[in-house]
Symmetry: C2
Amino acid sequence: MALRTIGAKSAAALDQELMSTGGFSIDQLMELAGLSVSQALFKLHPLNRGKRILIACGPGNNGGDGLVAARHLFHYGYQPTVYYPKQPKNELYQRLTTQLHTLSIPLTTDFAHALTQTDHIIDAIFGFSFQGPLRDPFPSVIDALSKTRIPVLAVDAPSSWDIDSGPPSEGPGKEYMPQALISLTAPKPLVRWFKGRHFVGGRFLAKSVAEKYGIDVPEYQGVEQIVEVGLDGEGEGEGKL
Amino acid sequence: MALRTIGAKSAAALDQELMSTGGFSIDQLMELAGLSVSQALFKLHPLNRGKRILIACGPGNNGGDGLVAARHLFHYGYQPTVYYPKQPKNELYQRLTTQLHTLSIPLTTDFAHALTQTDHIIDAIFGFSFQGPLRDPFPSVIDALSKTRIPVLAVDAPSSWDIDSGPPSEGPGKEYMPQALISLTAPKPLVRWFKGRHFVGGRFLAKSVAEKYGIDVPEYQGVEQIVEVGLDGEGEGEGKL
């Protein structure tokens, strides 16, 4: 399956359209995004392969998706731990954090230590609005993610990658290649450089809206909120993906 | 599996707690509720048994759950039609309706005709806050639901039933017995009178909150947002369910 991609500016415009004329609220979209992330993790790493999941959350919407995913993973039977070093005062993120507190899901401030205590990682640090540069504490976190042998699922983008031009030419993200990626709503141009398992989530997009933005609605199965793409061995090069 | 029930007043209190100290927004809870409803319909009535689904939506939150379910069902491949005779000015319901318009999901005002054009029905007219009496046009709708041979999935309650004391002793709901029921968050006392397949949705409830309200968190499987209960042949009588 070869899916078209959507650049950073268009992705921002699509998000805005969904939340204005589309009638979606950010709460609703974030719930569906985080649910997709949790379903991808469940496929990648079934419960019997280790229940400990470390979710690294950034200060924006990508981090919010991670918070939602943490809650769903808890209910599936995992033991999530959330690293959330920059918690904004934004009411939505505070509410999502409250939901985690109610479930007694631990938040950690020591990423290096948390890395030694987990079976899988979710990188929900930066998404399609990332423009750099990396600010503390994230350079050391990205560095650790690029070196760990524990598998990583990145949400929308491997954090520190440029949305349109992929891995940075220098800095801690230069060698960072997560084992898996979930593209939310549509793949971004960076997938051209990504090597690993690739999922798409966003089973709310109307075909008319997808056509307007030049993206594809993949073929989901059953009631699943995600689909794995690139399984047919087709290259995902420029112009094809 | 014998699940405890929660009365109308307690259900309202629990809902309030989820949205205050629990940190949930109504958008989020409604998205998860409607998703649960869509998953129950998918189990009851796979796509190959007919794609046409008529969703009857009332003026409150139960109707909102129905609007969300209609969207998900569309994305699963069904052909939903929505009967929504009393559309409140509430911004949330208007946004959910906008989402249906974007997908070109038809709204109908002729329930009797729509009944002749569908393969399954969802009753999302009244939920746990229903106190009666039925107002037009709902008496004739309930009457039609009680007489049709087309299977019905009721959301939280067979509409017109009293939440705590079950079917009314007179009026159009007296003989109304849907084929299936999905209880949201927890079963209500009316399930004592219900005969049919019974699902529970609400995979977001903390065990601590469930204990406080004297209800159970059923054992969900995999990433499913619903679970079918009462499959072990146990009676679901008072004090046991």
